[in-house]
């Protein structure tokens, strides 16, 4: 954890790590059981397959009738349960648990189709690939994508996943880029990279732009503002103004899939141990975190914390069995003694958050409205929707207020109220 420096007049420098200090990739053996999470809420009636169904590695599993949501099995085995899973902010998922069989068989449905590298194929087979390629965006009629930004730098601290992919698998990225370009017919491709990646990426022949080495420069909204020179309107996403963000890993997944004719099923991610030591790990999508901890000799105690994602924007999970998902870029284990205390102290108007906020939000005023649940006022007058969700306000808060959480729950509550209004007429 990076602490405030003695000279508090300076802004804290939160630098993205470099890939140089991380050791080589560790392979996690295939676990006995995996769990795949699909964004679709559980709907028992319309399920397209039942318990006990056998699946092969790389097999695409369509979940429900009349919906195109699917997962890709990362192992060979038998479906042992299909259930509902509730994540942060009440989001529901369908969880499919697969018991792994002894012999591995690879599904070959994709092999035949992979000769045709069309947008349709990418959409139909690669949504669940490591790195979570945002395949739906390209066929979304409401959004005309004219620019693709490939993030070769990782957006949150400690994570070196994308940097590692760039270093180790540049050919797959090149291949993926050419496929993506041809299929999407988007010619404006911008690679966003940190300084020491510039050389490697110049071989791709694409436009490479350098991103600052300090957090939060590599967050999409700031890349838009500082590198592309387009400011995303408050409450909108980059794709709303025609820019699609895709991670280097996702591009590499596309490249590898079409190159080998097999859907990639192993996710690479950064694992940060309690002492801050980093390892790069590759595991099948759906591997429970506990299997990874066992393989790496990490023991967890009562009141420790497991974080999926980075220290600023990730989410903590309540179970050791939480599975690795296609977008899991990091798993961080935090010792209970290192967990900062959140307090119920009020804002003292010290102004630390104002100085650090990259979006120029009047957080000292905003937070007073959020604390009392006046979300609409917060949105109308105090720029709630300008927040780009970097978490720095909570990081520097002298009172230890959970400001970022207030902001997220305010957005969630407003969203819920608006949806209810729309459905009730």
């Amino acid at each position: 954890m990076i602490k405030r420096s003695f000279i508090g007049l300076l802004k804290p420098r939160l630098e993205y790590g470099s890939v140089a200090d991380t050791p080589s990739l560790k392979q996690i053996p295939t676990p006995k059981e995996i769990t795949l999470l699909s964004n679709c809420p559980f709907d028992k009636k319309n399920l397209l397959f039942k318990k006990k169904a056998t699946v092969k590695t790389g097999q695409k599993l369509l979940l429900y009738k009349e919906k195109d949501e699917y997962v890709v099995s990362s192992v060979t085995g038998q479906v042992s349960s299909i259930s509902s899973y509730t994540g942060d902010f009440g989001r529901t998922f369908t969880a499919i648990t697969i018991e792994v069989a002894d012999d591995e068989e690879t599904d070959d449905e994709f092999k035949d189709i992979s000769k045709d590298a069309s947008l349709e194929t990418i959409k139909n087979f690669l949504a669940f690939a490591p790195g979570n390629p945002p395949v739906k965006l390209f066929s979304d009629k409401d959004k005309s994508i004219n620019t693709i930004v490939v993030c070769c730098a990782d957006s949150d601290l400690l994570i070196t996943t994308n940097r590692y992919i760039v270093k180790s698998d540049i050919d797959a990225i090149k291949n993926g880029l050419s496929i993506l370009k041809a299929a999407s017919r988007v010619n404006d491709i911008i690679m966003v990279a940190s300084q020491n990646q510039m050389h490697e990426l110049s071989t791709t022949g694409e436009k490479v732009k350098q991103v600052n080495d300090t957090y939060p420069s590599a967050l999409p909204h700031l890349i838009m503002k500082d590198i592309l020179g387009k400011v995303v309107p408050a409450g909108k996403n980059p794709e709303d103004i025609g820019v699609c963000f895709i991670s280097a890993e996702a591009v590499a997944s596309i490249g590898n899939a079409f190159n080998s004719g097999q859907l990639p099923v192993a996710k690479t991610f950064t694992l940060v141990n309690k002492d801050g030591s980093k390892s790069l790990v590759s595991a099948r999508i759906g591997t429970p975190a506990s299997d990874i901890f066992t393989a790496l000799n990490i023991t967890l105690n009562e009141n420790d914390r497991i974080i999926f994602g980075g220290p600023m924007t990730g989410s903590s999970v309540y179970s050791e069995d939480h599975p690795v998902q296609p977008d899991t870029d990091a798993i961080i284990v935090q010792d209970r003694d290192d967990i900062p205390v959140i307090s119920d102290y009020p804002c003292t108007n010290c102004g630390e958050c104002i100085r650090i906020c990259p979006a120029n939000i009047q957080i000292n005023l905003l937070v007073r409205f959020l604390e009392t649940g006046q979300y609409q006022e917060a949105a109308d007058q105090y720029d709630l929707y300008s927040c780009i969700e970097c978490g720095l306000c909570s990081y520097v808060c002298v009172s230890g207020m959970p400001i970022f959480q207030y902001i997220r729950s305010a957005k969630y509550e407003l969203d819920r109220a608006n949806t209810a209004e729309a459905t009730n007429g």
Binding site: S319, C347, T348, N349, Y395, V396, V398
Partner: protein
């Protein structure tokens, strides 16, 4: 391997820079120490008594209030201690005990707690208390009269009072070095200019007070005093006297910079500081009060919410 471990689940971010309200307040206390120490060296045990009583009674008032209102006791955050400490620094060493206790009552209860406690006070609690006491018991704050029994090797005169009553010639004897070294009459912790400046610089470097406010306040005083001085040197003293006498320095580094009653945006901070400086000199030069720092800061506290409306545009904001 225990399978039923319970983990801490909370919202991002999972890091914190480790800053705390108590650390901030204890650093402010540390920064105020040199000025208090010189006051104690000059005025002896009465000064120790006033400062100690002030700190302890402020803490006790906060404790009593928390108990009466059944809130969790907040004396550990150091906020009450700081209020007591700075209040003590502004008093003459001869202040009677009842005045100290009454003053901390006004500061902690009326200045801070009835508004909702830390962070909710619209005025600097210490300034509110001093203002009320100054109006109510003017004689006690007449430093010349209050400190009449002290005999030092320097002119035991309160420069601003001398300036007001006897004109510019009365303050000619004060050299800048004397003023900086506390060789003037005044509050216990408000005369040692060098100590206050050192404390202020420490707080600025640590990022605990906002330099924009402190510097613009001093600049406001300097420029306004200079304009007065240039227009009529026989009537109005030069900027040096205004900068280093009275409550100017303690005001710049410890009073005007109080978090919750001062603005946080860059331009508002400059306006706030400079206007407080301007008002200070106006009150000193053409008002009835000897020192204007307290009332100037109080008035600027009042307009602070309005000033903070001048804010940078949030990104992505339409219109």
């Amino acid at each position: 391997m225990a399978d039923n471990n319970k983990f801490i689940v909370s919202h991002a971010p999972f890091w914190h820079d480790g800053s705390r309200i108590s650390t901030r307040n204890y650093n402010i206390a540390l920064a105020a120490l040199p000025a208090i120490l010189l006051g104690i060296i000059y005025y002896g045990m009465p000064a120790v008594g006033v400062v100690s009583l002030s700190i302890s009674s402020a803490i006790i008032w906060e404790f009593v209030f928390c108990r009466v209102t059944k809130h969790s006791v907040t004396i550990g955050d150091g906020s009450a201690a700081i209020i007591g400490m700075i209040f003590g620094m502004l008093l003459p060493a001869t202040a009677p005990w009842w005045l100290v206790i009454l003053g901390t009552f006004v500061a902690v209860i009326i200045g801070k707690q009835i508004y909702g406690g830390i962070g909710a006070n619209p005025f600097n609690p210490v300034v509110v208390a001093i203002a009320i006491l100054m109006i109510s018991w003017r004689d006690i704050f007449d430093f010349n009269e209050a400190l009449i029994n002290y005999d030092f090797d320097f002119a035991m005169v309160y420069p601003l009072a001398a300036l007001k009553h006897f004109g510019v010639s009365a303050v000619d004897s004060f050299s800048m070095g004397d003023l900086l070294m506390g060789k003037q009459s005044g509050g216990i912790g408000s005369t040692f200019g060098l100590g206050l400046i050192a404390g202020g610089i420490y707080l600025i470097v640590r990022g605990i007070i906002r330099w924009e406010i402190a510097l613009s306040f001093l600049a406001g005083i300097f420029i306004t005093a200079l304009i007065f001085n240039l227009s009529d040197p026989a009537h109005y003293a030069g900027p040096v006297v205004h900068l280093f006498a009275g409550y100017t320095l303690i005001g710049a580094f410890f009073l005007a910079t109080e978090d919750s009653s001062s603005p946080v945006n860059f331009i508002p901070m400059l306006i706030y500081g400079a206007s407080a400086g301007l008002l200070t000199v106006l009150i000193r030069n053409i008002g009835v009060y000897v020192d204007g720092v307290i009332f100037a800061i109080l008035i600027m506290n009042l307009v602070n919410p309005l000033l903070d409306k001048i804010k940078p545009k949030a990104i992505g904001k339409v219109a």
